[in-house]
């Protein structure tokens, strides 16, 4: 009886080692990054990512989700350009197809939706070196079925431009606007330029 038990124990030990060896080599899983609690930004996508390292351009495809402590974004395609520039800084982010952006500020929760959203940030030295006189440009452009809802002020248009430096929103072809949810203007009566109410 004892040899039989010894053989059984040997087999069990072998099976255990086999299982352990395969557990160690099993393919990795995506970490549950979730919503970042720090200043980190998390980007998830279902159809991969392209990194053009020379140009410092990243392209995300398929059910793209961006999480940041200040904002969230969903779209079907997201391109991030952050090229090296000799002086200053340049960032350009393009989100395409079913773009939905949420962000939080003193107005509370804000929302922007559009077919395409462009975010451009440029820090340019206007003076000749060694002098430095920087100019900052920071704009968000909503193109195609644009909708902006900032603290109860709603704007609709096929082109909405928000200058983040001057905090001015321009809607050349405004379809509809509603301020505090009470006054609704249609395209015929609406002004061509809107300054974002402070």
């Amino acid at each position: 009886m004892k040899p039989f038990i010894a053989i059984c124990l040997s087999l069990i030990a072998g099976v255990f080692l086999f299982a352990q060896a395969h557990a160690q080599t099993s393919p990795g899983e995506l970490p549950a990054l979730g919503t970042p609690s720090t200043n980190d930004t998390v980007i998830l996508s279902d159809h991969g990512m392209e990194a053009h390292l020379k140009d410092k351009t990243y392209i995300y495809r398929g059910n793209v989700r961006v999480f940041n402590p200040q904002m969230t974004l969903t779209s079907e395609l997201l391109t991030i350009e952050a090229p090296d520039v000799t002086e200053g800084k340049y960032n350009h982010v393009v989100a395409l197809t079913n773009v939905v952006v949420h962000w939080w500020d003193e107005h509370g929760t804000n929302q922007a939706t559009a077919d395409r959203v462009d975010y451009t940030y440029a820090l340019t030295n206007l003076a000749k070196l060694p002098e430095k006189h920087y100019q900052t440009n920071s704009t968000i452009v909503l193109t195609g079925n644009g909708h902006l809802d900032m603290g109860g002020k709603k704007l609709d248009g096929d082109l909405i431009t928000w200058d983040r430096v001057t905090d001015v929103v321009k809607v050349p072809d405004m379809k509809r606007t509603a301020i505090s949810g009470s006054n609704v203007f249609d395209n015929a009566t609406s002004p061509k330029t809107n300054s974002h109410p402070k």
Binding site: G28, L30, V42
Partner: protein, 160 residues
């Protein structure tokens, strides 16, 4: 049971154990011409930085595959800037280096890290469905589902 029979039974049990363990570890070993400790610079910068590798590939184990492909187990691919500072690191349990096409690819798990020293940011990417890296133009693709974490303070302040 006599002592001799016990000894024979013990030897049989031990042999069974050895056979099972050998089968287990043989199953994980790659077949073919395997070698340990693969390390190779893939490309150098032109003069005057001709001693500075642009990309470097290493692996715990390598195996000669077909059509100019080397199968790498426990691979780490590193790229560097011209000044020698790190650019990116990709690690994968299994990947394929095509020395004719100058590409590295995999179909499994990967971890990618890219350092942007100028903007003090680190980009980390985790994937489960493989990657493709093209040496000639520093083009890197992660297949299917991926998770990216960008670490570092945002410097897009409106006032410089």
């Amino acid at each position: 049971m006599p002592v001799r029979a016990r000894r024979v039974a013990f030897c049989l049990a031990f042999l069974a154990f050895v056979c099972v363990v050998r089968f287990v570890f043989a199953a994980d070993q790659p077949a073919g011409n395997t070698a340990k400790g693969f390390e190779s610079p893939l490309e150098f910068y032109p003069a005057p930085h001709e001693r500075q590798p642009r990309s470097y590939l290493e692996a715990a184990e390598s195996e000669i595959g077909q059509n100019s492909v080397i199968v790498l187990h426990g691979a780490v691919l590193r790229t560097f800037h011209e000044d020698g500072s790190r650019e990116m690191v990709v690690s994968a349990p299994l990947c394929f280096y095509d020395y004719a096409q100058r590409t590295v690819n995999s179909t499994g798990a990967l971890h990618f890290t890219n350092w942007d020293e100028a903007h003090k940011q680190v980009v980390q990417v985790w994937g489960t469905n493989g990657f493709y890296w093209q040496q000639t133009n520093s083009f890197f693709v992660v297949s299917n589902q991926q998770a990216t974490r960008v670490t570092g303070a945002s410097t897009n302040s409106i006032k410089p």
